[in-house]
């Protein structure tokens, strides 16, 4: 059906219902006896009145409008759209995990605590950090937790002068947004000509008013900061702590560890590096790893292993803790999937995954650089950035190339990021993809670049094969129709 898909509310028929509770004889206390008159609901919420089949059909039809990793190649830079193994899903649905209440006593959740403790240990090993907390709900939430730990560390030492956080101009948008939420001023430093941190620029900004430097390594151009040792020394000599944004961890597992490079605190994205699905935007999970000096400030509760027989407990008595960053223990259902992945891959498997991710990225970098400008065209890690400026003369922008890819059944790379490359296309193929897939993809991109020369107009009209075509985004923002109107 090529027709508009109805909204579930438009399928509704007054009085239709397909949901039944058991027949029991429950005392029929009138609402007026239970609640104050003012507090009783008068008007029903306009929820759908449909059958179970309507629901199944509606959501199945909706799902078919989505592109996903299961549909095809999804080389979205900085997002690590690797395959999401189904074993992990199966295990996360076990009743022994799914049906456990957060307020059950410690002795009744030993299996869950064991899984979390083992995941913490595994992540510590992968990262070279001393301890990991699993509480943060997402990458940005991990950044928040990490910077709060840094703040607590400085303040505990009586140092209240550090009001700034240094962030390179190539950083993820969450970095500066997080720094502000932690009450810091952001100092952005420009990248050097090869896309890495400008050491002289850094030296100029560093001082006793700086709390932290936030970096990702490899950076968002996929380039490894070779001078990371120097950067760490510059930071530490000035009493500044080094934060590692783990979004790009898929490049370096089993090769080099943030903890060894001199980072003091970091977050992981279990939904990137450790294969848990992105679920249309979440839930993710953003565990935070720390070096020993930050241990006293961890969010509560802290999971402890009491003895070698494997009894686990939750410690709430952490006097210098930054407090809670969310309710309960974190996105436990996501943790199960990440643990299953790590156990399946093993240490060697994780290392091999990073090797193949980097091999794939370099392979398409070389091939794509034959017909598109790659501004920093040297050995990259898991991703690289191209620039479509050359097509501007035909009126074609990166935006148009991306839409053209949609017509070819592949998802575009991340576009217009990092901001330091004007018409940026940021490719991250991941280790999941075969050479065949990469070859077909490169051929598609080449075809589009050729099309930009020969028939730019058709590219400006793309996509034509997708469920909807280019949207009127101005109308969306101007009219702000953000909910269905029942009138």
């Amino acid at each position: 059906m090529k027709k508009d898909l109805k909204l579930i509310f438009e399928m509704s028929s007054e009085g239709r219902k397909d949901f039944y509770l058991p027949k029991e004889s429950i005392p029929e206390f009138p609402l007026e006896e239970m609640f104050e008159e003012d507090m009783i609901r008068k008007e029903e919420a306009n929820l759908p009145e449909v059958t179970e089949l309507d629901v199944v059909r509606h959501f199945t039809n909706l799902s078919k409008l989505n592109f996903s990793v299961d549909n095809g190649f999804y080389p979205l830079g900085s997002c690590t759209m690797k395959y999401n193994p189904r074993l992990n899903e199966t295990l996360s649905l076990l009743e022994g995990f799914k049906d456990v209440h957060p307020y059950q006593s410690d002795k009744n959740i030993q299996g869950a605590l064991e899984l979390m403790y083992k995941l913490q240990e595994s992540l510590s090993e992968v990262s070279g950090m001393d301890y990991v907390t699993l509480q943060p709900a997402a990458g940005a939430h991990g950044e928040y937790t990490g910077l709060r730990l840094i703040k607590a560390y400085h303040e505990d030492r009586g140092d209240f002068e550090r009001t700034k956080v240094i962030i390179p101009d190539s950083a993820h948008g969450t970095n500066p947004a997080t720094a502000v939420m932690c009450g810091y001023k952001v100092v952005e430093i420009p990248s050097a000509s090869d896309g890495t941190v400008d050491i002289d620029g850094l030296k100029k900004e560093i001082g006793t008013d700086v709390a932290a430097i936030m970096l990702t390594n490899p950076n968002t151009l996929g380039i490894f900061e070779k001078e990371i040792g120097t950067i760490a020394s510059i930071a530490h000599e000035a009493g500044v702590l080094l934060y590692y944004d783990g979004a790009n961890m898929n490049a370096i597992m089993g090769k080099i560890r943030p903890g060894d490079m001199g980072f003091d605190v970091m977050h992981f994205n279990l939904h990137k590096t450790f294969s848990t699905p992105h679920g249309m935007g979440g839930p993710g999970s953003g565990p935070v790893g720390v070096k020993e000096r930050l241990l006293p400030y961890l969010p509560i509760p802290v999971i402890k292993k009491e003895d070698e027989k494997g009894k686990y407990s939750l410690e709430y008595n952490v006097p210098k803790s930054i407090g809670r960053v969310r309710t309960f223990f974190g996105n436990f259902n996501v943790m199960i999937k990440a643990m299953a992945y790590i156990m399946t891959m093993g240490g060697d498997g994780l290392r091999y995954a990073s090797e193949m991710a980097v091999l794939n990225a370099n392979y398409i970098r070389v091939k794509i650089s034959e017909f598109l400008n790659v501004p920093y065209n040297s050995i990259c890690k898991h991703e690289f950035v191209a620039d479509s400026c050359q097509l501007k003369k035909n009126g074609i922008k990166t935006f148009d190339l991306a839409k053209g890819m949609l017509d070819n059944g592949v998802h575009p790379p991340t576009v217009y990021f990092p901001l330091i490359v004007h018409e940026a296309l940021m490719f991250e193929p991941t280790e999941s993809e075969s050479k065949d897939t990469l070859d077909s993809f490169v051929a598609i991109v080449k075809g589009l670049v050729d099309q930009a020369e020969t028939d730019p107009q058709s590219l400006k009209e793309a996509p034509v094969t997708t469920p909807v075509r280019r949207l009127d985004e101005a109308k969306a923002t101007k009219e702000l129709n953000v909910r269905y109107s029942f009138e």
């Binding site: 206390f29 592109f67 959740i109 299996g111 969310r326 093993g346 240490g347 980097v358 009127d472 909910r483």
Partner: protein
């Protein structure tokens, strides 16, 4: 070499290396400083699918699984019935393995679902608009505080002490880093309700807003009309249990400014508190100050109805340091679950479930209140949860009930980590607690005397 989920053959690797112009894979890592490099990770070797399945299943079996018990634990997470359709639909790869809908032409499934979700949450809460989800009830409450301070440009915020204690802990963490003075206002000890007089006297010219629970942590249904009257001039936020809104008046009817809440009861499983869903709704005039993703309706070039992310200029990927929040990943997939749930139970079901829960809870409360040595702590209206004071040892009561295959009640001392709550326990009742189960629990509580 163990290589689950990785397709490369030796031959392909060689061909690819040749194209790149290097000899071996190791050459691709020659830019890593040698002094920091590692040779291997001290993790167990990779395992086959069935070994992993066995080992992780063993961990699952070490947990007490509430399916084998009757459960009266609540405190923000509730065990409601999860219809069979949910896992079948939610596990579809097109939902599970899609990213944030940055390419709307191939994300209309996600976008339309979010638009429907926003509508359902707005309807349920009686608010004009809702966003496409936050992490959980705690961070949603904290974001309501930040948003209120942003709108009012004032940095003093009030929260009633009977709001979920973990929410207050999260708000406290967020307040501290933003230089917000968070004032916890004690509740009325006799009723368990907000102390409106005390709230009123705590409002000064620096105060941005107040957050209350509805029902509050003790299950007590606050009188939002009185609270609104006491909070003129400041922004009022209400943290809800969405299931209660089948029978309780929608907060929007009281001119509330922001509604937040924990969406887990809407079809989410317990997962040790991990399958959380932050609900966030507000008045439309505040939309530009709202955190998180918002989806709006528009048309495509052919005039076909379509959906797109709107007001992205509030968000971190565009606005960076000036964003309304740092939130990027949200809890989209849990919002899908809530949407499926609300579609299945529908207009009628939300009311029936709410009624069922509250009537059963009242029945149990009535029985318990008649027994010696157990008292209903607060003589106030409540939804599906209530606090009981006992002269028995709460831990011993819980231990005994556990042996009778009953999980709960919740020891309030455990939650508050405060001696003041030593003799208090809280029972939560849902439609899953049958009348037979409830009668059995009551009998057992009586036998303990």
């Amino acid at each position: 070499m163990k290589n689950s989920y990785i397709p490369h053959t030796e031959k392909e690797i060689d061909e690819m290396l040749k194209v790149i112009g290097v000899k071996e894979v190791e050459d691709l890592f020659s830019d890593l400083p040698e002094n920091f490099s590692v040779k291997n990770l001290r993790l167990s070797p990779g395992k086959s699918e069935f070994e992993v399945k066995k080992q992780i299943s063993q961990m699952a079996s070490k947990n007490v699984n509430s399916e084998d018990y009757s459960i009266y634990l609540g405190g923000g997470f509730y065990k409601h019935y999860v219809p069979a359709v949910i896992s079948h639909i939610a596990e579809r790869g097109e939902f599970l393995t899609a990213y944030t809908p940055y390419q709307p032409e191939v994300s209309q499934g996600s976008l339309q679902m979010f638009y429907e979700f926003q509508t359902m949450i707005a309807e349920l809460t009686g608010m004009e608009i809702a966003n496409a989800s936050m992490y959980d009830g705690g961070t949603a409450a904290a974001e309501a505080m930040l948003m209120s301070c942003r709108i009012k440009k004032k940095y003093r915020y009030l929260v009633s002490e009977n709001v979920h204690p973990e929410y207050i802990e999260v708000m406290n963490t967020y307040a501290k880093s933003m230089g917000i003075e968070l004032v916890v206002i004690p509740y009325d000890e006799a009723t368990g309700m907000c102390d409106t007089e005390l709230i009123k006297s705590n409002i000064d010219e620096k105060t941005a807003g107040l957050l209350v629970g509805y029902p509050n942590f003790f299950g007590v249904v606050e009188n939002l009309k009185k609270i609104r009257e006491a909070t003129e001039g400041i922004l009022l936020s209400v943290s809800v249990n969405p299931i209660s809104l089948g029978v309780l008046e929608a907060p929007g009817k009281f001119d509330v400014d922001i509604v937040t809440g924990e969406g887990q009861p809407l079809g989410g499983s317990l997962y040790l508190g991990g399958m959380s869903l932050g609900l966030f709704a507000c008045k439309k005039k505040y939309i530009r100050n709202m955190p998180g993703r918002i989806i709006g309706e528009t048309v495509d070039v052919d005039g076909k109805r379509s959906f797109a992310m709107v007001l992205q200029t509030r968000e971190q990927h565009i606005r960076r340091a000036k964003a309304t929040s740092n939130i990027c990943s949200n809890h989209a997939h849990n919002a899908l679950v809530a949407s499926i749930y609300l579609s299945l139970i529908g207009k009628n079901g939300i009311r029936e479930i709410g009624l069922n829960c509250t009537r059963k809870a009242h029945y149990l409360a009535q029985k318990i209140d008649r027994m010696d040595r157990y008292n209903i702590k607060f003589a106030s209206p409540f939804f599906n949860e209530f606090v009981v004071e006992t002269s028995l040892d709460v831990e011993e009561v819980i231990e005994d009930l556990f042996e009778q295959k009953i999980l709960g009640p919740l020891s309030l001392k455990k939650v508050f980590r405060n001696e003041k709550y030593n003799n208090l326990m809280m029972f939560a009742v849902t439609e899953l607690n049958s009348m037979d189960e409830i009668n059995f629990l009551a009998t057992r509580l009586e036998e303990l005397l």
